[in-house]
């Protein structure tokens, strides 16, 4: 049996250039294998064993094209005992063009002996250029798998691939399935040992895939390199088929969810809006017209707007304009025999305000017929006492002591509750403690004209009210003009909260009846004296 050459012996005489024809159907496979090994096999010469047990060893021709390169191919089996005449020999060398400018020379051995080392030598012009030791059973290069079929499955992300194993003497083949989306460079490879079908998973539905396969013998008995790839198979995975039930369910659920969220949002929209768009407080409603009319110019707004006055807060000016008030005398309730000097001056006419009144004070200045008998203020007795005081004033004009200046700012009135009538002590004593603060002070004011103001001092007999509302009065002048018919007297009843002024004329002093004139009621602020108990000194106040 010849060791070298091809089995089809009658092709031997063919010219080198036509050598590529005689392989027939296998030429394509042969060329693809040669190309494959040209890229992947670094050894020289590159040898591979084909299915029909042809060992082909080839090498790339170096040098210029066309020159007849004389190569010699020699082989030797490493045997410890000579097998026979076929232990070593030489084989013919042929040439082949594999596309482009590449040419190869090759030699083939048809007798294949396994499990024995084989040494091959390629020599050119007597010089060995390539040498290699190999086992024939380890250089298998099979044909690609046959009948590669790809099928779609019920799952759109899966493909079933099956093929037929190439002809081989042994069963132990390893397969590799390469699949990638058509046009994509990134592909996956699935290794399949022995079995000739596989299920590809994790695919993209509705995409076009390219599937290829190749085989390699693996094992200790036989091994080799990867076969060329099969021709690619193009297949499209089925698109995702949405189950109508799932679709409708999903739509319904999403609709319900939407409605729920809308309801929640609408019911809490104010809260949500406050959270999302917090209201930034602006002072515009407190300053009407400030921003809209005057553009933020506060001075202009203050000057031009009448509403600015109204803006003055209530607590700012609780005190009215100080009105000069002269208190001529303060009538204290103890009996007129005390050293009271009373100066009655004209009170300020400005003191008029409608305020709330104590029922008691009203009673004291009104007609006795109006009052009731609820309190110790016996109107007649009260009026009598007032008249008595006035008379005393007239009679004893000098009894007033030199004035002492007081601060004009202080206004203090001390409540004296001991000015009760003696006969009413029993009655009043019970009410003393209760009504102490509400005991109005009776002060007689006598108006004497506008031109002068006298100094006068009023001594307070006793003023130990806990709440002492004090008014200070000034008496610039020393003299006290005698009383005459020009005097106008005003009885002031100080209830601690309001002062009632009732004018009285001097001519009527003798007249016990007091004409109920207009009652002027003032409200004043009670300033509690801080540390010292000041003697009450009445001073005339300029009534202008």
């Amino acid at each position: 049996m010849p060791v070298c050459g091809v089995k089809v012996a009658w092709w031997l005489s063919v010219h080198v250039g036509f050598l590529h024809l005689f392989y027939g159907e296998g030429s394509q496979g042969f060329q693809s294998k040669v190309k494959l090994l040209l890229e992947s096999d670094p050894a020289n010469p590159k040898c591979f064993l084909e299915l029909d047990k042809k060992l082909t060893c080839f090498w790339e021709e170096m040098g210029e094209n066309g020159t007849a390169n004389q190569y010699n191919f020699h082989y030797t089996y490493q045997v410890s005992s000579p097998i026979g005449s076929q232990d070593s020999g030489t084989c013919n060398v042929s040439s082949l063009s594999v596309g482009g400018r590449r040419n190869i020379s090759f030699s083939q051995m048809s007798r294949v002996i396994f499990y024995v080392p084989l040494d091959v030598y390629v020599s050119q012009n007597g010089r060995v250029i390539h040498q290699r030791s190999l086992y024939m059973d380890q250089v298998f290069l099979l044909d690609p798998p046959k009948n590669l079929t790809v099928q779609r499955t019920a799952n759109p992300a899966q493909l079933r691939v099956s093929w037929v194993s190439p002809d081989f003497i042994d069963d132990g083949l390893m397969y590799e399935i390469s699949y990638a989306i058509t046009g994509s460079l990134m592909g996956k490879v699935e290794k399949v040992p022995t079995k000739t079908r596989v299920l590809l998973q994790g695919l993209q539905p509705g995409a076009s895939y390219t599937v290829r396969a190749r085989a390699k013998p693996v094992g200790l008995s036989f091994s080799g390199t990867w076969s060329p790839w099969t021709p690619p198979v193009f297949i499209e995975t089925s698109p995702i088929d949405m189950d109508p039930l799932i679709l409708s369910l999903g739509l319904t659920i999403s609709l319900i969810f939407l409605l729920l969220s809308l309801t929640v949002f609408l019911s809490h929209r104010r809260f949500l809006l406050k959270k999302v768009w917090p209201i930034i407080p602006t002072p515009e409603n407190k300053f009407p017209g400030l921003f809209s009319v005057y553009g933020g110019d506060f001075q202009e707004w203050m000057g031009n707007s009448s509403e600015g006055l109204r803006w003055i807060p209530a607590h700012c000016c609780t005190e009215e304009r100080p009105s000069p008030l002269e208190v001529l005398s303060e009538v204290s309730v103890p009996p007129p025999a005390s050293s009271h000097t009373e100066n009655i001056k004209n009170p300020s006419p400005e003191a008029e305000r409608g305020t709330r009144e104590e029922g008691n004070t009203n009673r004291s200045s009104r007609h006795p017929a109006d009052g009731d008998s609820a309190t110790w203020w016996r109107s007649p007795s009260h009026e009598e006492w007032l008249m008595a005081q006035l008379r005393e004033l007239q009679h004893h004009p000098r009894l007033f002591s030199p004035p002492s200046l007081l601060e004009s700012q202080d206004a203090y009135v001390s409540l004296d509750q001991s000015s009760q009538q003696p006969e009413e002590e029993t009655e009043a004593a019970a009410l003393d403690d209760i009504m102490e603060e509400t005991v109005p002070m009776q002060t007689l004011f006598a108006g004497m004209g506008a031109e002068s103001s006298d100094l006068g001092s009023i001594q307070q007999s006793s003023g130990s009210g806990q709440l002492s509302s004090q008014s200070s009065f000034e008496y610039p002048n020393h003299t006290w003009p005698p009383k005459g018919p020009g005097y106008t007297y005003m009885a002031v009843a100080d209830s601690g909260i309001s002062m009632d002024y009732s004018p009285m004329s001097s001519s009527r002093i003798a007249d016990l009846r007091i004409i109920p004139g207009p009652t002027y009621t003032n409200l004043y602020k009670n300033n509690v004296p801080t540390h010292k108990q000041r003697p009450f000194v009445g001073q005339p106040i300029n009534s202008r």
């Binding site: 047990k53 002996i113 499990y115 024995v116 008995s221």
Partner: protein, 192 residues
């Protein structure tokens, strides 16, 4: 009448007993039960890998491992077409005789090699050869006891170094032995 009955019963008992003995003699239950066939080739693959390691280890030993006289070893080479044409019995015979030869040859190395590492390889290889024999027996191959004259019938080689010996040993195991085992008819029954 009763006595006659008793006597016939005794005869029957002894007859049954004798029959039982004959059956048992024929079945020979005293013999060891047949081994379950070892069709898995993974054990053999392991032996082959160990033989490769032994060959690599022996390659380093050149001078000390040179043998004084050549050893007879089986021919590892396989011409596949030729091999295929042989029947199973011949293949089994060739494998068994080859294993026997290897056993002899490796055993003789023990005296000449002192390296402990190499000695361990030698012992391992010897044990593996015995295990392969067991596998062969389990596959119902006819046991073949090679004789001195049988070495001439099968093709043999002669090696002069330990490395060559272990190379032959490695190739023989992964060649002929494995081919035989992988195509054992006992294992082919359930395989499609």
């Amino acid at each position: 009448m009763c006595q006659g009955y008793k006597r016939s019963l005794k005869l029957q008992e002894s007859g049954i007993f004798a029959l039982l003995l004959m059956v048992l003699e024929w079945a020979q239950p005293g013999l060891p039960s047949p081994l379950r066939p070892i069709c898995d080739l993974r054990a053999l693959d392991l032996f082959i890998k160990e033989a490769q390691k032994a060959e690599d280890a022996m390659r380093s030993c050149k001078d000390a491992c040179t043998l004084t006289e050549p050893l007879t070893v089986p021919q590892p080479s396989v011409d596949y077409n030729v091999w295929k044409r042989r029947d199973m019995e011949q293949q089994a015979q060739e494998v068994q005789s080859g294993l026997w030869m290897l056993n002899q040859a490796i055993n003789s190395l023990k005296t000449s090699i002192n390296n402990t590492v190499l000695l361990s390889h030698i012992d391992n290889s010897l044990g593996n050869i015995i295990s392969i024999g067991q596998v062969l027996r389990s596959l119902s191959f006819q046991e073949y006891t090679p004789s001195a004259t049988a070495s001439g019938s099968t093709e043999t080689w002669r090696v002069s170094s330990a490395s060559a010996l272990f190379q032959v040993h490695f190739n023989f195991l992964r060649g002929k032995v494995r081919l035989l085992l992988s195509h054992a008819p006992v294992c082919q029954q359930g395989v499609s």
